[in-house]
């Protein structure tokens, strides 16, 4: 450590690899003091301006807030609150375009200043030496201070380190060619900055404090030297101008000769670095109880008439700053936030100044070379020569273009500080940094996806195990129950005998029912058809059932198809086929109702052929099949020989007897299943099919209820009500907002059915 200090005292420093010397443009804005601006009309304060998480919003629209009042509160150590930069009214809390290269919107608090600048109560505390370390850190966290150099890392996190700190480095290098915000701040606020440094000294207790500043700021250097003359611990280190000295790792290397290993924080080496602007903000926060609500912004570039540093309130629109500094409307083509090397073009000029905004650059045409066409890499190696992180930019570039994430990791892509030195020297005008940014975002996204996939996998496995366990448990239960029953039945008691005879009786009933079914079937067919010979009865009966089934399926499809829906106007080819099939089905259904002739079977085969044409089994079909299954099941459960309702199909089919009807229906649904499988639906049928499903389910439920009602000899009005419910459903199906109405109707029907059942029980 001594040797480091000796070297520094002799004015000797280390060098980092590479670096460039872009033309300096600082003179544009160094000659004028920092200007106070009038209040803008509206402030947009992004809820999150730092690395980490956004805080919880404390205010609501319409609230009056005072200057310095906290707008969000930290619920997490990585959260930095934001404060009202002036007094006024919250007019909105909504997403708005923020200072991010994506041009995406994030949540912002809109504040309309009232011009009174009324402060909240403040506790001025000149005697910060009395405060404990934790109190100081807490004050800094409450004041919403995050790194003001560029990345916006929460300052209190950096201060809350347990490691023994040898060097506190204050970064005043400001190596970007245009920016002078720190320079001017030092010149004007040197005393406050020194207070801030002392507060940091109190918290971190480092062995030495090194202020790194490039030699192109003579006035600032002089000011700092004068201020720190009497303090031995603080060394002002005047560094040669080379870009990017201001990079964290680069500055550490220049001052101490140590390289921060890839993937570690400087605190591992006993070093903490803070920006000089952050020191000022810390002094303001601790001593004057002023949270971070304004910052110095360099508004510069050749398009600006009066390039100058300004005190900008957080949330001030960039547009307002440009106006104030006399930037003409015409040449607002490229406005860059941040420096020319590391900044980004703004997506919109309403974006607000945030805590990390150090510069607004409005260059003229000459300053921005017209977008030179990128050409192939010529492998000159210049990029590798200038890379301060000692990476191989051309290799990175190829791997980035190939999306080879493994290779990028091997080449240490994440050590790239995006300084832009490589792109600056590249003779082929390859926007190297762009490729790295894209690749970094991709890798980050991929990592997130990998984590999510791993989680999904675990949950999937866990679920499988759970289902398996539940199945076993169920089987075990059934087995036990069966065993218990057996044991009981064999016990020879009167109860057991009862049970035995009950089983026997049930078996007998089933048999009787089967026989009866056969009879009625024959009866019905005989009465319904003109075919006389008993041998043919069964044949024609089957035929009629099949025909009816097909008819139903077609009719339903037709109903779904022709339901007044604007979408159905786009009749696709498949729906044409279906329509044709439905026509056939109409015929065949008539045939099924009236006389059954041989022609029925002809039509049937036609229908089936038609349907089979588009034999694509897709999801929608599956849905339809599921519906059909559900119905079939429902019907099967109601197969009691009782007065039944007519089937709900939209075609009017007269059931002559309930028993066969329910059979027909069962068959028909089976048939439907088959047919639907074979059918291809146009995409907008999915929705309709689903709605039909919901209705069908609702109806099935209702029918079940109705049946129980009839069983209990309920007066007719119940049935009427039911019918009206059904009517509702049908009208709704044809209604204009088919989707919604149908759902409502289904729900209504369900509710009614339920009520009836309840009133019965």
């Amino acid at each position: 450590m001594e040797s480091v200090i000796e070297r520094i005292e002799q004015g000797k420093f280390w060098k980092f690899h590479g670096g460039i010397h872009p033309p300096q443009q600082k003179f544009l804005s160094t000659d004028k003091p920092i200007r106070q601006l009038p209040l803008p009309e509206l402030l947009r304060i992004p809820v999150q301006q730092h690395i980490g998480e956004p805080g919880d919003i404390l205010v609501t629209v319409g609230d009056k807030v005072l200057k310095g009042q906290a707008l969000t509160v930290a619920n997490h150590p990585m959260v930095v609150p934001v404060h009202a930069p002036t007094s006024g009214t919250i007019t909105a809390i909504e997403a708005s375009v923020i200072a991010h290269p994506s041009g995406l919107s994030e949540l912002c608090i809109f504040l309309k200043p009232d011009g009174e600048e009324k402060w909240r109560d403040r506790e001025i505390c000149p005697d910060y030496q009395q405060l404990s370390k934790n109190d100081l850190i807490d004050k800094i966290a409450q004041a919403g201070i995050s790194g003001m150099g560029g990345a916006g890392f929460p300052s209190h996190i950096k201060l809350n380190t347990a490691a023994q700190i040898n060097y506190l480095i204050i970064n005043a290098a400001e190596c970007e060619p245009y920016i002078t915000a720190d320079d001017l701040l030092i010149r004007e606020q040197c005393a406050a900055i020194l207070d801030g440094i002392k507060i940091l000294d109190n918290i971190l207790a480092p062995a030495f404090i090194l202020i790194g500043i490039e030699e192109n700021k003579p006035e600032a250097i002089q000011a700092l030297k004068n201020a720190t003359k009497t303090i031995d611990k603080i060394k002002v280190c005047v560094l040669p101008v080379i870009y990017p000295t201001g990079g964290e790792k680069q500055l550490i290397q220049v001052l101490t000769g140590k390289e921060v290993p890839s993937g570690t924080l400087p605190s591992a080496l006993g070093i903490v670095m803070h920006n000089i602007g952050t020191c000022f903000a810390i002094a303001d926060a601790v001593i004057n109880d002023i949270p971070l609500i304004k910052r110095v912004v360099t508004v510069t570039g050749k398009s600006v008439a009066k390039p100058q540093n300004v005190w900008a309130l957080i949330g001030t629109p960039v547009e307002f700053l440009l106006q104030q500094c006399g930037c003409q409307q015409g040449n607002k083509k490229h406005i860059i936030m941040g420096g020319p090397m590391m900044g980004f073009s703004l997506p919109s000029f309403t974006v607000p100044v945030v805590k990390t905004t150090n510069c607004i650059l409005a260059p003229d045409e000459a300053e921005i070379p017209d977008n030179d066409q990128e050409v192939e890499c010529i492998r000159c190696g210049q990029c590798a020569d200038v890379c301060p992180s000692q990476l191989l930019p051309q290799e990175l570039q190829w791997s980035a273009k190939a999306h080879d994430h493994q290779a990028l990791n091997d080449l240490n892509l994440f050590d790239c500080i995006e300084c832009g030195a490589c792109a600056y020297v590249c003779p082929s005008h390859i926007p190297l940094v762009h490729y790295y940014r894209v690749a970094k975002a991709e890798i980050r996204q991929q990592t997130l996806l990998d984590i999510k996939a791993e989680k999904a996998k675990q949950r999937f496995e866990a679920r499988k195990i759970r289902l398996e366990r539940e199945k076993l448990a169920r089987e075990e239960k059934h087995r036990k129950a069966a065993e218990a029953r057996k044991a009981r039945m064999n016990s020879g008691t009167a109860e057991a005998n009862n049970e035995k005879s009950a089983v026997a009786a049930a078996l007998a009933r089933v048999k009787a029912k089967k026989a009866q079914e056969k009879d009625t079937n024959n009866d019905v067919t005989a009465s319904d058809t003109s075919v006389g010979s008993p041998q043919e009865i069964e044949k024609t009966d089957k035929k009629s059932q099949v025909a009816a089934a097909i008819a139903r399926a077609k009719a339903k499809k037709l109903a779904a198809q022709t339901a007044p829906n604007t979408e159905s106007n786009k009749s696709t080819q498949s729906s044409n086929v279906i329509a044709e099939a439905v026509n056939n089905a109409d015929n065949s259904s008539k045939a099924a109702e009236g006389e059954i002739t041989d022609s029925t079977s002809v039509i049937n085969t036609n229908v089936i052929k038609d349907i089979e044409k588009p034999s694509e089994l897709s999801k929608k079909d599956k849905i339809a099949v599921a519906i059909a299954k559900a119905k079939a099941k429902k019907r099967a459960t109601e197969a009691k020989p009782l007065k039944n309702e007519p089937p709900e199909d939209l075609l009017s089919e007269k059931p002559s007897n309930d028993e066969p009807d329910s059979q027909i229906v069962t068959n028909s649904t089976n048939k439907t299943e088959q047919q639907v499988k074979e059918q291809a639906l146009s995409p907008d049928d999915i929705k309709k099919a689903k709605i039909a499903a919901a209705i069908a389910k609702a109806k099935a439920k209702k029918r079940q209820t109705t049946e129980s009602i009839i069983n209990n000899e309920i007066p007719d009005d119940n049935e009427q009500r039911n019918e009206s419910a059904e009517k509702e459903i049908q009208t709704a199906t044809q209604g204009e907002s088919l989707d919604k109405n149908a759902r409502i109707a289904a729900a209504v029907a369900k509710a009614k059915a339920k009520k009836q059942q309840e009133s019965k029980n």
């Binding site: 020319p340 996939a453 996998k457 949950r459």
Partner: protein, 184 residues
Amino acid sequence: MSLLLAIVIIGVLASCFGALIGFASVKFKVEGDPLAEQIDALLPQTQCGQCGYPGCKPYADAVANGEAINKCAPGGDDTIKKIADLMGVEAQALDESHQTDNTPKVAFIIEEDCIGCTKCIQACPVDAIIGTTKQMHTIISDECTGCDLCVAPCPVDCIIMMPIAKNTRNWQWDLNSIPVEQIS
């Protein structure tokens, strides 16, 4: 004589090495099918079943046993390419029968419409739905893989698939959208 000796020596050597190899195969037996596991690691773990298998792992097993590599719709071309690289076969286009768009989505339950039938819970392969009989259900969007399986079973169609909103965290730099200027 020397011929006999040679045969005996070679024979003894052969049986020694045979025993050694036999021992090694028992001692260092690799559990499971490493290829299937590697393939499984490449699959997106959406568990949607669009490949025709009941989950990603079964499909990975099937691919390891010669099933076509182009059936994973959510993974899309990227996944197919990775599997092709791993297996040393030619990458193919995604199977035509499921040309779905694979923009990431999450399911969302329109809560006022939910009737609490629990059907969606039974369908969800990753248990991402909370709810119980006759109570409103909701989806833990962080756990939802966007597999679409809960949409069809819902009797009142109150589950919709929503594309995941872009924000500054999951945003991907796009060279063509807004140029990031670097001037000299």
